[in-house]
Amino acid sequence: MTAATVTGSPTTADAAASAPGRRRRLRPARAFLHAFLIATCVVWIAPVLYALYTSLRPYADTAKDGYVSVGGHYNLGNFANAWNEADLPLYFKNSAIITIPALLITLWLASMAAFVVARHSFKFNLLMLMIFTAGNLLPQQAIITPLYKLYITIPLPSWLSDSGHLDDSFFGLILIHVAFQTGFCVFVLSNFMRTVPTEITEAARVDGASEWRQYWQVVLPLCRPALAALATLEFTWIYNDFFWATVLMQTGSNRPITAALNNLTGQFFTDNNLIAAASMIVAIPTLVVFFALQKQFVSGLTLGANKG
């Protein structure tokens, strides 16, 4: 396989392109590697394809022919049933009410904190970064018990919360997402902001720009790639949250869709075909991330990892 690395270099690749005969020649080791990767990918995608396939078949057909079979009807009946019977539009709306504000506030707060930490040299910067980063790495379950007590004690005006408390309210869920996710975003954004040359803010300062304007009009626009990557990643994480919503939102009809699906199984979803269809519907936003924004998602993850 040692030669394989060399063959991959650009010069030989160009030569190969000009000689089509050579291009098709595959080393046995390479061929074996491709076979292995293809097999792995088939196994990897099988559960998703199986779910999709099952969701397209009526229950009656799978009951008659078995789940691993071909034939019978294929239609979107399960999708229509899941969508209507289980009120999925309502839960999508709940997810949007929680995810969008949480995402925007998290990025906004994190970018401000990152600006303070990365563009200034205060003594407490290091401690602040540690507090943020370590906080994000704690298991949620390690803090839930007192948090839950805290939530049922803190009063909220009734227009913000039906229960009159942080607990069981959209506001409370948004708040914990912001508090928890800000840590990771500060970490990533401060690393990113540190790569912005000091001369730029220095020049703005000389021109009389206040700290706020340096942040809002100079540094933040330069962080757009990092913000886009983080937005994609955080959208997925907040949308995918199951734990906070399960514990902190008791009213079933206010739950976001990821957590709501659990209540609906058994109540509305009686067979695997319906569950498969509902799962596919719930996965749609994250599948959009997968197909359209994969690059941003991955770079968000690796921005965080590379510096660590």
Binding site: V6, A46, V48, A113, Q141, T258
Partner: protein, 314 residues
């Protein structure tokens, strides 16, 4: 402590001059910009973390307000370690989760990343497919687990001919089997995650080093062992932390299947059961949470400390 890229001697006088130039408004702005996010993190993450430890020494149903709290000393811990029947299996399953994550997704993710990092045709397609489960929520992975391992309707039993009544394998109901079904699906998602992290790390390894090694006659294993592996050190630390944290956080998949009972007990599900169950036992749940907290801090604090210390030196 200067976190800017300026070198130390130059930074000193400049910083001092700069500090003087902050107007009152600037100072107020900076305080708010840093203070508000910090306060949120302290109030809703760190305060509960500390309170978890404090509450673990009390008995409290949580209903009658603070006056109802009774000091319990180490009683909660004594119960957990001696007579609480769910605790040994929970710890066992968390450990098993951790070991499996270290033994399967971590090396396999590295292996896949290393292979995909070669200039391979179709590499992007392979990458995308292996990465797909990472965007799905763990709750959804729980539903996928039901689809794949459901005894009569599942993929595995139907493929292997075990879906009939006479030779049914009850993957999700049998307490000695279900943890493995769950772990298979957890690994399915974790491998792609680890692979992406390693791929990013491998991109920063200078390919000419590997070429030089192979020109010197190193075989693939030798060049990996002596050129690639040492360069991956920083990413290895990240993967270790991610692996530990993800296995301590494990919750969603088992909660979807049976709320973490009957062979699927985890520390996280025990904690949850103790606060949202019918008998809310705040002190007892906190003692369980403290155990989880301590285990995770053992990994998190050294990681954060070394990361940022290294940061200031550069």
């Amino acid at each position: 402590m200067a976190a800017t890229t300026l070198s130390q001697p130059a930074a000193r006088p400049r910083t001092r001059r700069r500090l003087k130039r902050y107007t009152k408004l600037d100072r107020a702005a900076l305080t708010l910009m840093g203070g508000v996010p910090l306060l949120l993190s302290l109030a809703f993450v760190w305060l509960p973390a500390l309170a978890t430890v404090a509450l673990s020494f009390f008995n409290w149903t949580g209903i009658g307000g603070f006056s109802d709290m009774k000091a319990a000393g180490l009683e909660n811990y004594r119960i957990i370690f001696t007579i609480y029947p769910e605790f040994p299996p929970a710890i066992e399953h968390n450990l098993l989760w951790l070991v499996v994550f270290f033994v399967i997704p971590a090396p396999f993710g590295l292996f896949l990343a290393h292979q995909l990092n070669k200039r391979l045709r179709g590499s992007r397609i392979y990458q995308s497919i292996l990465f797909l489960p990472v965007v799905l929520s763990l709750a959804l992975v729980g539903f996928m687990t039901e689809l794949v391992f459901s005894p009569t309707q599942g993929l595995v039993n139907n493929l292997t001919g075990h879906a009939g009544q006479n030779n049914l394998i009850d993957w999700l109901g049998d307490p000695s089997l279900n943890i493995w079904a769950v772990l298979i699906m957890a690994c399915w998602r974790q491998t792609g995650y680890v692979m992406i992290l390693f791929l990013a790390g491998l991109k920063s390894v200078d390919p000419s080093l590997q070429e030089a090694a192979s020109l010197d006659g190193a075989n693939e294993w030798q060049s990996f062992r002596h050129v690639v592996w040492p360069a991956l050190r920083p990413i290895n630390i990240v993967v270790v932390v991610v692996t530990v944290i993800e296995s301590l956080r494990a919750f969603d998949i088992v909660y979807i299947i049976n709320q973490g009972t009957n062979g699927l007990e985890l520390l996280s599900t025990l904690i949850t059961a103790n606060i949202i169950g019918e008998t809310s036992r705040i002190g007892f749940g906190s003692a369980l949470a403290t155990i989880l907290l301590v285990i995770s801090l053992v990994f998190v604090l050294p990681y954060v400390y070394t990361t940022f210390r290294k940061d200031t030196r550069s």
